[in-house]
């Protein structure tokens, strides 16, 4: 490794105790933070800002060194390269649970410092922790810190670099007794078990009846704010780029630049990259709202509410977190699947997360519906619900196969509700804006240049006759595939192809190959089928490589690609087919077909495949596990 192991400090602690917030403070980085267990699913190393020779490693949170899920395994693997010092971050609000891991850490015989985080919240709740007494019990320095408020950090690092000691070994059988004694001597609580703000708010947010309507309201408001506010700001940028582009073209012509060069600048830069850039505000608004949901702790509550429904379709409450994160970007969503304990549910979550409309797809839909449906908000909103419906349907179908069936029930920490910090939200936005601009400058620009080249050159060199170009012949060769879907023209075909690199590329390609992309679609429903195809087709290259990484198998990866392609094709075919029926045979025939197909599908899905309550994994009529468990 590029860092010097002899000077490495590892941050270890329970999930959601603030390790990454501390890491960002120590290294000056802007890694993603959030208020729930499992935001960090990979280890990260950076240099300490005040002493560049010291390396800090941030690890995923874990309850125990005995690994269960993929993110927890990273912690035990990482400890194989022994760090110089361990900073054990513990949540001061939950000492008795957090110290169990501390006890396990004593068996490693590595010098350690304990950082008791959330000192600000402890003060508010009237809890006093005697660090000297705690330090005597474990024989290591104990420092009170607040990573969110940047308090006690220098003292912690001073102790970590100079005073860290190997802790007293605690035998595993004595953990609980040992902790009870330690807490008796070190913690003074004013009042125990009072109902705090989180409890009161959860009475409403997690209410059996109110919870789901509130959740739906949250989704709807995220969507409408993104499209209204983001759309408004985006239009301003689009106007600016248009004016700048016209000005550039004019001055280039006046200076007598070559025709192909003008084509490159206007075609690839203005029409291609420029069209994508105008969606920056929309994507930022979306990520701002998602960051607020993430940092407040609401996402874990949504997972709690939806777990029952998710289980019915072979998923898990934690899959909802993946789906929710995927509404921003599927890469993050796919990586969060790591926290799911059951391999089969994890696989299914990786398969289905890319079906969610990510920021880039949302931009494509907003653009197309603006062009074709006059910006009708119902069109884009319906795609959100279509994606949820297809995820549920996919889960219900796929869980019939052994490859996906079965898994563990949900056991998940519900975080304290917290006010999102300005620093956290701002860092997230900065990160996303930089990502987006880098993407526009690299992959989007490259696709633009390639598309420009292919549509400006043919076998006879540079040409202005489009039917002689490479792009035209390429598109014409594959367009037959899309005829049943209602968009069998070469322009749409190449746009779909470019969507594999980045979904934003669909906008730029359509914009570059057609003066008025609305004319490419013979009817509203064929345009809708096109959007559905973009929604469900395999995700962009970045998400594909994340999926490959999580699935850890080329075979699984190919199955996923095939599944997503087939789903995209079938959904688009259905939409186009229903539209065709409606147009030619009227609404009565259409409803009749929908009802008949609906009945067939529900029979297939609801057909009771006997599953026993106890083992959940078998699906066979006579299950040995069930027998064994009921006789106990």
């Amino acid at each position: 490794m590029w860092w010097n192991m002899s000077n490495k400090i590892s941050l270890i602690g329970n999930p959601n105790c603030g390790k990454t917030t501390l890491y960002n403070l120590l290294t000056g980085k802007t890694e993603r933070v959030g208020n729930r267990a499992g935001v960090t699913v990979d280890s990260k190393t950076g240099r300490y800002v005040k002493d560049k020779s010291v390396f800090i490693t941030d690890l995923p949170g874990t309850y125990s060194l005995k690994a269960v899920s993929g993110d927890e395994r990273i912690v035990s693997d990482n400890l194989n390269e022994v760090p110089k010092v361990i900073i054990n971050v513990v949540d001061g609000n939950n000492l008795s649970r957090n110290l169990l891991l501390t006890c396990e850490l004593t068996s490693l015989k590595i010098p350690m410092v304990i950082a008791v985080n959330f000192s600000d919240e402890l003060e508010n709740r009237g809890i006093k922790i005697d660090t000297v007494a705690l330090s005597k019990v474990f024989n290591v320095p104990v420092v009170l810190i607040s990573a969110r408020k940047n308090k006690g950090i220098d003292m912690l690092m001073n102790d970590a670099l100079k005073n860290a000691r190997v802790p007293n070994f605690i035998p595993p059988d004595n953990y609980e007794k040992f902790i009870d004694n330690a807490l008796n001597s070190a913690v003074k609580t004013a009042r125990a078990d009072i109902l705090d703000f989180t409890d009161k708010a959860d009475k409403i947010l997690m209410n059996k009846y109110l919870g789901i309507p509130i959740f739906i309201a949250v989704i709807v408001s995220v969507y409408s704010l993104t499209s209204i506010l983001g759309g408004f700001l985006g239009d301003k940028i689009a106007d600016f780029i248009k004016t700048a582009g016209a000005y550039a073209e004019l001055s280039l012509r006046e200076s007598g630049a070559a025709e192909w060069f003008i084509g490159l600048i206007v075609g690839a830069l203005v029409k291609g990259v420029g069209a994508v850039l105008s969606f920056l505000p929309q994507i930022l608004v979306l990520f701002l709202l998602l960051a607020v949901i993430e940092e407040s702790g609401y996402l874990a509550r949504a997972a709690f509410l939806m777990d029952g429904i998710m289980e019915k379709v072979g998923l898990n409450g934690k899959s909802l977190i993946s789906l929710g994160v995927s509404c921003g970007c599927a890469v993050g969503g796919i990586m969060s699947a790591r926290t799911i304990e059951s391999e089969k549910q994890r696989r299914l979550t990786v398969f289905l997360s890319p079906f969610m409309p990510c920021g880039a797809k949302t931009a494509v839909f907003a653009w197309l519906s603006g062009l074709i449906f006059g910006g009708n908000p119902f069109i884009t909103a319906s795609l959100y619900f279509l994606s949820l419906f297809v995820v549920a349907l996919s889960g219900a179908i796929l869980k019939r196969f052994d490859r996906f069936r079965g898994g563990a029930g949900l056991i998940m920490e519900i975080p304290v509700l917290r006010m999102p910090t300005f620093r956290g939200v701002f860092n997230e936005l900065k990160e996303k804006a930089v990502d987006f601009l880098l993407k526009a400058g690299s992959i989007i620009f490259l696709v633009s240049v390639v598309v420009w080249f292919l549509q400006s050159f043919g076998v006879n060199g540079y040409t202005q006759n489009i039917s002689e170009t490479f792009l035209f012949s390429l598109g014409n060769r594959i367009k037959i595939l899309f005829v049943p879907l209602g968009f069998g023209n070469w322009q749409s075909a190449v746009a779909v192809l470019s969507g594999i690199f980045a979904k934003e590329a669909v906008i730029q390609t359509l914009n570059m190959v057609s003066d008025n992309p609305a004319n490419l679609f013979v009817s509203g429903y064929s345009a809708y089928a096109f959007m559905a195809f973009i929604l469900f087709m395999p995700p962009c290259i970045a998400a594909l490589s994340a999926a490959k990484n999580e699935l850890k198998s080329a075979k699984e990866f190919c199955i996923m690609l095939a599944y997503q392609t087939i789903t995209a094709y079938l959904v688009a075919l259905t939409i186009n087919g229903l539209g065709y029926l409606y147009e030619n045979f009227g609404i009565v025939f259409l409803s009749l077909t929908i009802v008949i197909f609906g009945v067939i599908i529900s029979i297939v899905i609801l057909k009771n495949r006997r599953q026993c309550k106890n083992c959940r994994t078998c699906g066979v009529k006579r299950c040995e596990t069930k027998k064994a468990n009921t006789t106990i």
Partner: protein, 74 residues
Amino acid sequence: MVLSEVKIGERVKIIVQKNENAVKQRLRTMGIRSGTIVTVMNTAPFETPIEIKIGNFRLAICKAEADKIVVEYV
């Protein structure tokens, strides 16, 4: 009585867990074991999962697992 039968707002003490070892071990690393006092906070739609509070720690646990945790009133 088992944990899944406890009404919202009631406090109970865990007597014994009949879950498989992996689940039992996982709950133990979260500080849940025989003798732990828990409060049931919320139940999700479809009766699963339920939210319990242990000290200041809130945990969602699905019904199938809560069915196998024997508790008594304190």
